[in-house]
């Protein structure tokens, strides 16, 4: 019974998958949507109960309190034994709340957003499947089971990015996401293989015990394992150089971008590193790499976000950049800060995406239906403040939180990360600071372009506020964004102490007033700069960006450092060339050519012999006679020798 309760957060959405996949065709939109949403709400409720029960347990038992095994092994071959085992500890319980909570809000929002879509039921099947998979990832007690969730969320991402698959671009974006993720996943798998070979176990508890017990002797192996796991994280959490899939993933419906590509799935890498922090801490060299990659990603993506026109692409690069902050925190060993930022980011980035979805929805559905213009291009927007007052307010809250304006949630979590960076790793601190400047600037730019000034297209002029079913989740998320900072206030550190059994020692420190002041200044300055530069932009038919005066620097940002082009030219083209070379030249010409060549040779010899077999009996006779004479001769010789 206890077991069933523990895994019911996973089972509820799975039930939704089953019902909607089989009966969805015969159910109304309302029934489908509410069923799916309520099941996730139920999941959230159970998670809350479990969270409370866990909180009631004595602190030193919290790591083991929620360890359950279903008793049936999933894989058992030779020495390899992987049970269906789950672990609810402070870390996973927190994550479960985020996943089911934000997930439930986004489910409800989607009822409005996806209204009228011909594949409405399928959308909710995917969303429910995603929640279930994400919970498997979060609750798994072993590397391999975590990998199951890890891959399944990738599958959901693939399916949802390509949800409107009749447009080949969406399908291609989905495939790109899956393949790039798979590259990281292979590293993850290799890490698992090496873990098993080194420690003979795959459950976290056993492996961590092994790390602690064997210390020095496995240091090299642990360094290799963590590096491989981290490469896995760069795929899922969109860190350079594997971040290229995330901007394209915006092809999916906007609720998907909010749930999967901002709030939950992409944070799996950070969660995984926090989960396996024992190993990462035993591998300082990997940690240095992690911190640097995270900080570089924050900078690179933040810089790219400066010049994007697509409302969702800005947010996508912003997500990558913020994920960079979290990864850097993990690299610095500041897992609490990383998880804190993960949670607040889930709030405000989900909020931003859903608000952006509300904007897009308004642009699409209330403007001209035969618009040639792109409803996601911010140059077509402007002045939406008056048309979409509620959306504007919540977007503003989210934006300010993202920029790091106190006292919103983003300010506190970002502050903790940079404080750790300042203490431990100056280059990372510098990179993150510059990135924070970029963040504030592009937030200001986005706010101005979308909501201020005059409407710059018919779509914007006719935009109307979204229905309540969409705005209600926005309000909830906005509230969470405002209050989220309270989770881990400097000097109080509730979240930190809560998580510390799972992610290691934590000690809160009072607010560093100087640093906080500096970052408040940065936030406000960046916003102001964005405001000033874009206040009058795009009003004329001339749609060039004011920043384009920066020349190559602008182009670098606009083209996302040319990384996509580089991958296209080298990796993709190279693979195509290799593939067609192997298929046509080596396989058909070479290997099959040899086979057929042998065949032709045989036929040639046969033809030559066949001429002797023209049907002339006397010719056969002579051949026989030759054989007879040869045999007799042979026996004569053998006989002679025998004597």
């Amino acid at each position: 019974m206890n077991q069933l309760l523990f895994i019911s957060p996973i089972l509820f959405p799975l039930l939704g998958v089953l019902i909607n996949a089989t009966l969805g065709k015969r159910m109304s939109e309302k029934a489908i949507g509410w069923l799916a949403s309520l099941l996730v709400v139920a999941s959230f409720g159970v998670s809350l109960i479990l969270f409370a029960q866990l909180g009631g347990a004595p602190e030193d038992e919290r790591l083991t309190w929620g360890a359950i095994s279903l008793g049936i092994p999933w894989i058992q071959a030779g020495a390899l034994s992987v049970p269906f085992g789950f672990l609810i500890d402070p870390l996973s319980a927190t994550m479960m709340l985020v996943v089911t909570g934000v997930g439930a809000l986004i489910h409800i929002y989607s009822i409005g957003y996806m209204h009228g879509d011909p594949r409405f039921a399928r959308f909710f099947v995917y969303l429910n499947l995603f929640v279930a998979s994400m919970l498997v990832l979060v609750m798994a007690d072993s590397f391999l089971l975590m990998f199951v969730g890890w891959e399944l969320v990738g599958l959901c991402s693939y399916l949802l990015i390509g949800f409107w698959f009749t447009n080949i671009k969406n399908a291609e974006a989905g495939r790109k996401a899956f393949v790039v993720n798979r590259i990281g996943d292979v590293a993850f798998i290799l890490g698992i293989l090496l873990t098993f070979v080194t420690f003979g176990a795959l459950t976290f508890a056993d492996v961590f015990a092994g790390v602690a017990r064997r210390g020095e002797s496995v240091q090299a192996a642990v360094a290799a394992i963590t590096l491989l796991l981290f490469i896995g994280a760069t795929g899922k959490s969109a860190q350079i150089p594997l971040h290229v899939w995330l901007p394209d993933a915006m092809a999916g419906p906007t609720p998907v971008s909010a749930l999967i590509h901002a709030a939950t799935m992409v944070t799996a890498g950070i969660y995984m590193m926090a989960r396996t922090h024992v190993m990462f801490e035993a591998a300082p060299s990997t940690q240095a790499v992690v911190a640097l990659v995270g900080a570089l990603t924050a900078l690179v993506a933040g810089y790219t976000a400066l010049t994007q026109f697509d409302i969702k692409r800005v947010l996508a690069y912003s997500t990558i950049s913020q994920l960079g902050f979290m990864v850097a925190a993990a690299g610095l060993g500041a897992y609490v800060a990383g998880m804190f930022h993960l949670v607040t980011h889930a709030f405000f980035k989900a909020l931003l995406f859903l608000a952006a979805g509300s904007v897009i929805h308004a642009m699409e559905h209330h403007g001209h239906h035969h618009h040639p213009a792109d409803p996601q291009d911010m140059r077509n927007m402007g002045g939406l403040r008056a048309k979409l007052p509620l959306t504007f307010v919540v977007f503003l809250i989210g934006g300010l939180a993202l920029a790091g304006v106190p006292p919103l949630a983003g300010f506190f979590s970002k502050d903790e990360i940079v404080l750790d960076a300042l203490k431990h790793n100056l280059p990372v601190f510098v990179l993150l600071t510059i990135s924070a400047i970029f963040t504030a600037f592009y937030v200001g730019r986005q706010l101005v372009m979308v909501f201020f000034g005059q409407p710059r297209s018919d779509m914007a002029r006719h935009a109307q506020e979204s229905p309540a079913i969409m705005t209600a989740p926005l309000v909830v998320l906005a509230a969470l964004t405002v209050l989220g900072g309270a989770l881990n206030l400097p000097g109080v550190g509730a979240l930190g102490y809560w998580l510390s059994p799972a992610v290691g020692e934590f000690k809160t420190h009072p607010l560093d007033v100087g640093l906080a002041g500096l970052f408040t200044l940065i936030a406000l300055g960046g916003l102001a700069a964005g405001w000033l530069v874009y206040r009058h932009a795009f009003t004329t038919p001339d749609l060039t960006d004011p920043l384009s005066r920066l020349g190559p620097l602008y182009a670098l940002s606009k083209n996302a450092w040319y990384l996509d082009a580089l991958y296209q030219a080298v990796v993709v083209k190279g693979f195509y060339t290799l593939s067609s070379f192997l298929a046509s030249v080596l396989d058909l010409g070479g290997i099959d050519g040899i086979v057929n060549g042998v065949g032709r040779l045989a036929r040639g010899v046969a033809g030559w012999l066949g001429r002797a077999q023209a049907g002339f009996v006397r010719a056969y006779g002579v051949l026989m006679l030759i054989g007879v004479v040869a045999l007799v001769t042979y026996f004569l010789i053998v006989g002679a020798n025998a004597r």
Binding site: I72, W74, I75, A77, I168, A171, I183, L190
Partner: protein, 486 residues
Amino acid sequence: MLSTITFLPLIGALIVVVLPRAAGRAMRSVAMLASLAAFLVSLLALAGFDMSQAGYQLVESQQWIPQYNIGYKVGVDGISIWLLMLTTLLFPIVIAASPGAIHTREKEYYALMLLMETATLGVFLALDMFLFYVFWEFALVPMYFIIGVWGGERRVYASVKFFIYTMAGSALMLVAILFMGVTAGTFDLERLAAQNSLWSANTLLFLAFAIAFVIKVPLFPFHSWLPDAHTEAPTPGSVILAAVLLKMGAYGLIRFNLSLFPEASRQLAPLMIALAVIGILYGAIVAFAQSDAKRLIAYSSVSHMGYIVLGIFSLNQLGVQGALLQMINHGLSTGGLFMIVGYLYERRHTREMARFGGVWAKMPLYGALALILVLSSVGLPALNGFVGEFVILQGAFQANQLWAAFAALGMVLSAVYLLTFYQKIFLGESRDPANDTLTDIDWREALAVAPLIALCFVIGLYSLPFFSAMSASVNSLLGAAGMVMR
């Protein structure tokens, strides 16, 4: 009981032969009944199978050619039990899916299909080398005719190539079998394995067997008969070829090479592993360049079968068990994919992927089933392919970390070519107006693939019975061969 399973289809074939030519319906029913009966009896065999036992069970032994100590001996152990089940399961499915693909000479077709079932079952169950060889060669004949008579445009080329290539491979095996049987004075596999010290390190004999088997598998670079045979064969032929016939080769590698020549296996394992890994990557890369759906899946078989050989020659518990499971997995998912492509071919009479696009919008159920099979083939966790691949990789990683790492790259490549395959046919917009009239699959077609898909989930989520049935036998095989016991 095993003889009953083996020869029930043969009886069915005889009945089909004497039926009048016009009684197509009766022929289908007889074929279906015969193959279903074999399946049901094999379920009984499974129920009576003791999983904890390592040796052969349900053995039936009889003298056949006493002058040379050749016997009729069949039996099943943990290595062959699931292959037996796979075979008896797939034939009814294929026969159920046949009416859509086969419209001419039905009598010959069903008779040959049933003969084929007897032959393949015989291969998996025979415990006498000579008997094994008889079944092995006999399995070639029906497939030759099925490709050659009911195949596509280049069917004659493909069938002759298939026949000669595989025949050439097994010629050496016959020599080796005769040599060993005469030397040891018995053809009984158990007794031969018990005295394998006679040839344990004989690489020549090893190769004589291995060449026959790797051609059948097929291992790179002996694969070039496969794309032609698969592409030209009618749908049921492709399914059987992929799901059952290829397994004969991999099964042979375990049953003969590993147990009879352990020392030679160890010496040549690096070579086999290298070829397997090259095959994994090569098959995947070449698959990507194909424009014909069936050819693409055929090359994917080359890649997937590479995993199986990799597992076998890891020469450890995990590798061999993973390989055995992966044989079943490959039979399910690739067999299923061939059926899926067959459904489309029956509707549009082309397999050129460029002529499709957006099919999922027209055929929602079909698209969903195809996606599951594609994902199973890609190796997505919770489906069967992942379990097999992971266990193989874990075994291979213990044997050789570098090659295993290269093999793991196959997971990326399989995602690349299979998702591309899916995208070209099912996603995007239709590229040919002929697609507009496509209708979704009916319940009969769905029902035919349903068992395969259900098993994909079962193995993916609950592989315990599959592994536990084989572990004792694999353990004793490796133990007897003095190999690593991990």
